[in-house]
């Protein structure tokens, strides 16, 4: 049998496997599952969240003990982390803190370290779980990423209102150059820019932030799945041509796998830095 003829079936199977299904029934067919059904993505979301929580809880407790020990002994060197793992986590948190200070500013930045760090480590751990065979990233379904983007939306809108007041935040959507124009320009151009900025701030931002994460993870898994299907289908029957195609697919699969690890990091980073940028634009809304 020609392997290419079986490919559409394999891809359909793959797409089905990546859709939202009850966690205990991989071959579920029929209408989309309801809100109260425990789905495969929710299971992996819970696993990723628990992993992050347990790691950070243990590390934080250890650091706290270390701190009180150093206070007692009075030596600065006792503050240094004792194990490589603790040191690694500390490095990650410092990375987030530096990013927050860099983007949001030295005064307001450190306040948001915990918020940004939660997003970064949750998405990162979940994306890494998605690369383990059998695992799934929660970002592989639109519902989860929309929920994350909505949390970000609520936070940056709230910060904007709190820092500038309702009218101040709305006014800041119009650039200051337009605000200083003559009256006709202010009304004509101002209302037009306000409309554009309003749509891009309140609608496009959460939309793109959620779709970016979802699209990258979903597309990555489809690519990995298609190459795996190629390998399986072509290696099944031995001939020189089949073997060549299978070997090349295998090579590409390995390369794409490495690339997906990179994407897992970069998407967690991009999501976090965009959150920081949105918060920054709310905090400093009156300045531009």
């Amino acid at each position: 049998m020609n392997p290419m003829e079986q490919l559409p079936d394999k891809i359909e199977e793959l797409v089905h496997e990546l859709s939202v299904l009850p966690y205990n029934d991989m071959h579920y067919e029929g209408p989309p599952v309801g809100a109260l059904v425990l789905t495969n993505y929710v299971v992996w979301l819970v696993i990723a969240t628990l992993t992050v929580f347990v790691i950070f809880f243990l590390v934080a407790r250890r650091e706290q003990k270390r701190m009180s020990f150093a206070v007692e002994s009075g030596k600065v060197t006792d503050l240094a982390p004792t194990s490589k793992f603790v040191s690694m986590i500390e490095l990650g948190v410092e990375f987030i803190r530096d990013m927050a200070i860099d983007v949001i500013g030295p005064k307001d930045g450190p306040k948001y370290t915990a918020f940004l760090g939660t997003f970064f480590f949750m998405i990162l751990v979940s994306n890494i779980y998605g690369l383990v065979p059998g695992g799934k990233p929660f970002a592989g379904t639109m519902g989860a990423t929309v929920a994350l983007a909505l949390i970000v939306w609520v936070v940056f809108v709230f910060v904007g209102f709190k820092k500038n007041g309702f009218f101040g935040y709305m006014k800041s959507l119009i650039p200051s150059g337009v605000r200083e124009m003559p009256l006709a320009g202010r009304i004509g151009l101002g209302s037009y820019i306000f409309l554009l900025e309003f749509i891009s701030t309140f609608i496009i931002r959460p939309l793109t932030q959620s779709v970016r994460l979802f699209a990258n993870m979903y597309a990555g898994h489809i690519i990995l799945g298609v190459f795996s299907a190629f390998v399986v289908l072509f290696m099944r029957q031995f001939s020189v041509a089949n073997f060549a195609v299978g070997t090349v697919s295998m090579l590409f699969l390995i390369i794409m796998y490495a690339f997906e690890i990179f994407v897992a990091f970069i998407q967690a980073y991009v999501f976090t830095i965009l959150t920081a940028v949105y918060i920054q634009s709310s905090v400093h809304a009156s300045e531009h």
């Binding site: 990013m99 860099d102 939309l207 793109t208 779709v211 970016r212 970069i266 991009v270 830095i273």
Partner: protein, 71 residues
């Protein structure tokens, strides 16, 4: 017939939406590389800004991607 046309439309929607951002991200990346080569000590800041710029450019392609699902 109709399903085939929808499939072609989906392909066109995403393909056309990817042209502009493709060029844009190329320019962003190239310029960032140029800047980093001129001032290696600013590489960290430039990289951060580059990622933000790429994210904004990419948004247009993502709108096309969403459109393929909506069609």
């Amino acid at each position: 017939m109709e399903a085939g046309l929808v499939a072609i439309g989906k392909g066109l929607a995403y393909g056309l939406a990817a042209i502009g951002p493709g060029v844009g991200i190329g320019i962003v990346g190239g310029k960032a590389l140029e800047a980093m080569a001129r001032q290696p000590e600013m590489a960290g800041r430039i990289q951060t800004t580059m990622f933000i710029a790429i994210a904004f450019t990419e948004a247009l392609a993502l709108l096309g991607f969403v459109l393929t699902f909506l069609l």
